[in-house]
Symmetry: C2
Subunit: 178 residues, 2 copies
Amino acid sequence: MSLRHAVLGLLSEAPASGYDLLKIFEMSLANVWPATQSQLYGELGKLTDAGLIEVAAEGPRGRKEYRVTEAGLAELRHWIAEVPPNTVPRSDVLLRVFFLGALPADQAVAYLRSLARDAENDLAHLRSLVPHVECQDDNLSVYGRLALEWGLRASELRREWAEWAEEQIRSLNVTPRD
Amino acid sequence: MSLRHAVLGLLSEAPASGYDLLKIFEMSLANVWPATQSQLYGELGKLTDAGLIEVAAEGPRGRKEYRVTEAGLAELRHWIAEVPPNTVPRSDVLLRVFFLGALPADQAVAYLRSLARDAENDLAHLRSLVPHVECQDDNLSVYGRLALEWGLRASELRREWAEWAEEQIRSLNVTPRD
DNA sequence: GCTCGACATGTCTCCACTGGAATGTCGAAG
DNA sequence: CTTCGACATTCCAGTGGAGACATGTCGAGC
């Protein structure tokens, strides 16, 4: 249900075509709310029908540039401020952790170690994005920086937690059961 | 696709009926992988068809107690160790952060503040769970503790980040643009 | 003048998840 | 002995996302 609001949000910053949006999704929202072209174009159609966006201009190759309407902006604001964020995010990573007991201890440790490595990689990747957003000053960048900071902190947390967890399992396993 | 592995994982600890599983989901997996009864019973049927679990015993009220088969256990281990964790978790909270620019600054600040409050509540809730899992010693509890620790750390992170973000917005807004 | 790659929009099917509802059984308390 | 609440299962309609596929246009460079 949030894809529509992601689209509204992006269009509220600047008019764009479906193709443009696709690019923006790949770049800046890839880590927050990935979307495919089918979803995007479908949503653009529905939003137009609902009167929340409208075609601002047509260009070459059938390009349609969309922009939010007043109603769309109102809906966006309403969603941000008043709709309760929904639900527990599901984590298949954490789910695996729950069942690590089904694996021999050395494999469990290896799994946790690989989580730490993944987190480290993500961290490196996010850090590489920092210079990109640092200099810009549009709304999306300002708030994008907040989101990026979240990502940085979360990746660090994942790494530290994985290292801690690995240590836990190790110590459980080494100590005799007396 | 992970619901089936959650079911396999739980059944690998102990045989259980659909109803039992539902309870377990509500208690220990509620924050990791919530599931409804329709999903659960559906999945139990599919898993049985696939030969990954089997009916171990039938009880009163049509109760069917399931247990994993060898094939099921193998599938579980394979999933944990070898299937790459999938994808970016979507966060509608973070998505809202991206578009906070659509709101007047004071509302943006209020939103961040409410995030901090939510995180605080979650933290309190998770802390209340700590004594529950602390004493037990089965596999699920051991690894459940790891998951719980993750939750604690993540909630703290959310609170701290929200407070930091609020400060960022405030300072941006107060400083003159010269 | 042709071709290739980027631009651009759409359709279709499958699967997971949601939420609701219907149905029936057993045990305990009054 | 009756009734109520916990136990227990099954079905269904609707929605949203994933991913594959189909189609067409323009511009640059050879």
